[in-house]
Amino acid sequence: MPEISGYAFPNDIHVHWSLMIVMYPYLTGFVAGSFIVTSLYHLFGKKEFQPVARLALGTSLCFLAVAALPLQLHLGQPQRGFSVMVTPNFTSAMAGFGILYSFYLVIVLLEVWFVYRKEIIEAARRSRGFKRKFYAALALWTYDTSPEALDIDHRAVTILTAIGLPSACMLHGYVGFIFGGIKANPWWSTPLMPVIFLLSAAVSGIALLILLYQVTARLQRRAVERETVQSLARWLWFFLIITVTLELLEIIMLAYEHSEEWAIIAPLLTTRLQFSFISMQMIIGSLIPFILLAIVVLLAAYLHDRIRNTLTIAASLLLLLQVFSMRWNVVIGGQLLSKSFRGLRSAYEPHLFEKEGILTAILLFIAPFILLYVFDRVLSIVEPPAPGGHEREGERSASPGQA
């Protein structure tokens, strides 16, 4: 039985939304954030993101594949989960899951298909036996690799990214709306919630891509492009500043207006969430990466590549923690306070081996990386060099100056 300080409504003392509901926005945050990175190249044409464009697309797809699992594990009646798609009640933000998830899944699958179609066909032509059949099926038995067809592919990719970017944002933004629309809970109820969730997703996606780029480039013995790392760091820094500004703004506004909800939110922040909010989310998770990235962005010209890589890797790791603790503080924090506004319950502690426990969460986080490895084996995460000896960005096999 949890301990209550003050008075809580008798039914309020149970934390129904567990670690799984923390993991779900964490995972869809990576989906949206990676797609934002890939759109920087495929839609906005920023050449410095070309080395990570396919990696980001693959990451988005792999996290999307796993994203529905925490929800299924959480449902009291998971075998009825499909009802959300059959009879969605459209006044509910949660009902949007069925449509948004399916729609975005289709968009990403289509985009992957158009991006990789040429390589799939070439792989089909190169292979024999089962592998040939597999790649041919993957290409939907089309074999047209003429320049006109490829040109249509490029245009399709641009259009799909243009549709996919707001879809990815909606797929993660609606999760923020799920919380923001609950007038019963003052810690959740704010119009800023969808925006904070989405910007936080961009932070997590870019941070993850920075780490994945470093890891995959070294594993596959490719060069780590200075411009790519620098641009990723810059965008990460900007998104971090906006995200933390909004997160703090919400609390400052609550404290300033000093309405009845502040009476319970102030003790919540200073007692139950002291470690996870003040120490983890704000100081370790936001302030330190802000300083690290400020060095990378503002002192770009003076930095050795090794320092740039180290600082961005450190900042990204801390930001992955920051985004997780932000999700934790929103989801769990909101359930620690009672709707009576007179009581807080003791901290929620997930167990290691339960259905919605710590081990499950770790496995859910690792699974997309395994899928990404499979993705790379089937469809490479790196764009192949153009024929005819043109040296394209990111394809230099060995280069000095990398750590």
Partner: protein, 251 residues
């Protein structure tokens, strides 16, 4: 080559026409639609229920909590109705609800000298503009025509969104059925002309259940002539549980 292409194009266009027709037709219907719902002896259009709680009369005996638990097989540790005690002075306040008031209330020391105290029974307010129905993703939560908010235990997926959305803490996820549950105003009793179990056993006439569509209904008379309050009115959920004798400290 040209013949093949036009045949393929014709096939595609025919398929698309047929397909979209099927989509339009089927999207609106349910292929498994049954016959008309068999006529009920109970006509839900003839009633509109409301509940009044007179907190000046409650003695905190907890009979209502016990009766509800027995009548509705409520799991331990969860409450479809509960009673709160408010012990107040001009500056301080203390609220408690030991086990929801199930075994009554023990004597207590508030840590200050109380000048007024009272009990407030609570349950689902069966609001007209409920946040809980609004957020149910599958339409398992609904409001009947006679004004009772119910949960379809066979469609509820146990997501817990309604539990989070209720401002009054009246819902919970049952550990037995893993679906959402709450006070139903004993719908299985009121449809037979009986009163909810909590109203039936209340020894001091604190709890009153009535029908706004009945001419001489005492609850209707109270709502028409007495000064009543509801919980958290600023949220505009339009609760149908009305309280007499409330204090500013009650939320």
């Amino acid at each position: 080559m040209d013949d093949n292409r036009s045949t393929r194009r014709d096939f595609l266009s025919n398929a698309i026409t047929l397909g979209s027709g099927a989509v339009v037709f089927l999207s609106g219907t349910s292929l498994a639609a049954g016959e008309e719902h068999p006529a009920e002896r109970y006509d839900w259009e003839a009633h509109r229920y409301a509940y009044v709680i007179d907190t000046t009369k409650c003695i905190g005996c907890g009979s209502c909590v016990r009766a509800c638990r027995a009548e509705n097989e409520v799991p331990d540790g969860y409450f479809r109705t509960w009673v709160e005690r408010y012990v107040l002075s001009a500056e301080s306040s203390h609220v408690d609800s030991p086990n929801g008031g199930l075994d009554g209330f023990p004597p207590m020391q508030a840590g200050f000298a109380p000048t007024k105290s009272f009990f407030v029974p609570k349950m689902c307010n069966h609001c007209k503009e409920t946040p809980c129905i609004q957020v149910c993703p599958v339409g398992a939560s609904y409001r009947t025509r006679d004004g009772v908010v119910l949960v379809d235990g066979q469609r509820c997926i146990g997501c817990g969104y309604c539990v989070q959305a209720c401002p009054y803490g009246s819902r919970f996820l049952s550990p037995k059925t893993h679906t959402a549950e709450k006070c139903t105003w004993c719908y299985h009793r009121v449809t037979k002309g009986m009163k909810p179990a909590c109203v039936e056993v209340c020894p001091t006439a604190t709890r009153l259940f009535g029908d706004m569509k009945r001419e001489d209904d005492p609850v209707r008379r109270i709502l028409e002539h007495e000064r009543v309050a509801v919980m958290q009115p600023h949220l505009l959920t339009e609760p149908q549980c009305f309280y007499l004798g409330l204090d500013k400290e009650v939320r």
